[in-house]
Subunit: 192 residues, 2 copies
DNA sequence: CTCGCTTGTCTAGCGGTGCTAGGATCGAGC
DNA sequence: GCTCGATCCTAGCACCGCTAGACAAGCGAG
C-alpha cells in the first residue's frame, strides 16, 4: 500500500502546485495570461496533466477561489479579533475586506468576477465559501439592529463592500477616498 | 458632396447596427457568444468591416456600455420623477437601478464587469457615464445628510447597489429577498 | 529476473478565438 | 468610357481550451 500512498501524496502535491501556480500567474499578469499552455509550462508538465486533476480551466479558477475564500475568512477574523467593541470590529472588518480585495485582485476576481463553477447560497455551496460568509456574520450580526435579520444585514453590508471593492479596482471610484467611504458606510449601516 | 454625405450616413447607420446587434446577441446568448465572426455574420458583412469601425472587440463592448449608460440614466430619472419626496425618490431609484441590472444583464456587464476600455472618474470619462452618475447624484444628493459630501455619498450608495446587483445576478444572493435588502439599504443609508 | 499490463505522460491535432495582410471589386469623377 | 481610389472580402496568423492516441515507465505475477 505504501507505493500507492506515495503516489497519492505526490498527486495531491502536484494539484496544490497547479493551484498555487495559477494564482501566482494570475496575480502577476492577470487571468488573461493564465492559459492552460502557460500554466502547464510553469509546472513543467504537459497540458493534459491539468485535465487529469481538473475538469477544465473553470475548475482551476474555482480551486483558486476556494483557497482565496479561506484566506479572506482568516484575514477578516484576524482583523475583528484585534478590535475592541462592535463598532471598532466592524470598521476593522470593512478595512480588512477592502484591503484583501485590493491586495489580491486576481483571487478576488476568481471568487466573485469570474466563473469558477461554484454554487452560492445553496445547500451544495463549498465549505470555505460558507465559512467566509460566516466570518462576516460573526462581526456584522451584532450590529444588525433590532428586528433586522442578521443574515440579511450581512448580505447588504457585504454587497456594499463588494461594490466598493470592485468599483474601486476597476477605476470607477478614486482610491484616495476609500477610507472616508468606509467610515460613511460603517456609520450609516451599523446600529451601534 | 451629397455622395460623400450619403456614404457617411450609411457608415454611421452600419455602426449603429453593429452595436445594436452586439447588444442583442449578448443579451440573448451572453457575451461569450459575441464573437467577431458571429457578429459579422449577423450584420451580413465580413469580419474586417468591424475593424473599420472599432479598434477591436473591446471597443464594441465599450460602445454597448455607453448606450447602456444612457438608457440607465433615463430609467433612473424616469423612476425618480414619478416619486414624491426624497425618500420615495431614493427607493424608486434603487428599485429602478436593480431592475435595470436584472433586465439588461449583458449591458450591465458591458458597463461594469467587462473591459470596454472606458475611463471612469477622470477628465476624459465619456459623457454618458458622467451623466449616469449625475442622474444618481440628483436624487441621492438630497439625502446625503449634513456635512457629508453628496458625491461621496452617491459613490457609496451606488457601490452598494452595484454590489447587490452583481451578487444577486451571480447567484450569490437569493433574489427573493431583493426588496427587503433594498428597503434596509434605503432606511439606513439615506438621511431623511 | 523477466515478462505483460496497467498507469501515467506526452505529442499532435481539432475547432474555435481575435485580428490583419493583400488581392478583388465597384463606383465616383474626369 | 476609362482610370483610379475607396471599400470589402478571402485567406491566414498565432493563440485559445480541450482531447485522442501513441508511447514509456514501473508495478505485480510467474
Amino acid at each position: 500500500m505504501s507505493v500507492q500512498e506515495r503516489k497519492q501524496r505526490e498527486r495531491a502535491e502536484r494539484e496544490r502546485l497547479i493551484v498555487a501556480t495559477a494564482r501566482e500567474l494570475a496575480e502577476q499578469q492577470g487571468w488573461d495570461a493564465v492559459t492552460t499552455r502557460r500554466l502547464a509550462e510553469r509546472i513543467e508538465y504537459s497540458q493534459p496533466v491539468l485535465y487529469s486533476h481538473f475538469r477544465g480551466k473553470r475548475e482551476i479558477i474555482g480551486a483558486v477561489a476556494l483557497e482565496g475564500a479561506a484566506d479572506m475568512a482568516a484575514a477578516v477574523r484576524a482583523a475583528a479579533r484585534t478590535a475592541d467593541g462592535p463598532r471598532a470590529r466592524v470598521t476593522a472588518l470593512a478595512r480588512a475586506y477592502l484591503d484583501f480585495a485590493a491586495r489580491n485582485p486576481a483571487v478576488y476576481d476568481a471568487m466573485f468576477q469570474l466563473d469558477g463553477g461554484l454554487a452560492f447560497a445553496q445547500e451544495d455551496t463549498p465549505e470555505p465559501l460558507k465559512d467566509a460568509f460566516a466570518a462576516l456574520l460573526e462581526s456584522l450580526g451584532e450590529v444588525a439592529g433590532d428586528g433586522v435579520h442578521p443574515g440579511l444585514f450581512t448580505e447588504v453590508f457585504w454587497a456594499a463592500l463588494h461594490g466598493l471593492a470592485t468599483l474601486t479596482r476597476a477605476g470607477r471610484l478614486p482610491p484616495e477616498e476609500t477610507e472616508r467611504r468606509t467610515q460613511l458606510l460603517v456609520d450609516r449601516l451599523a446600529v451601534l
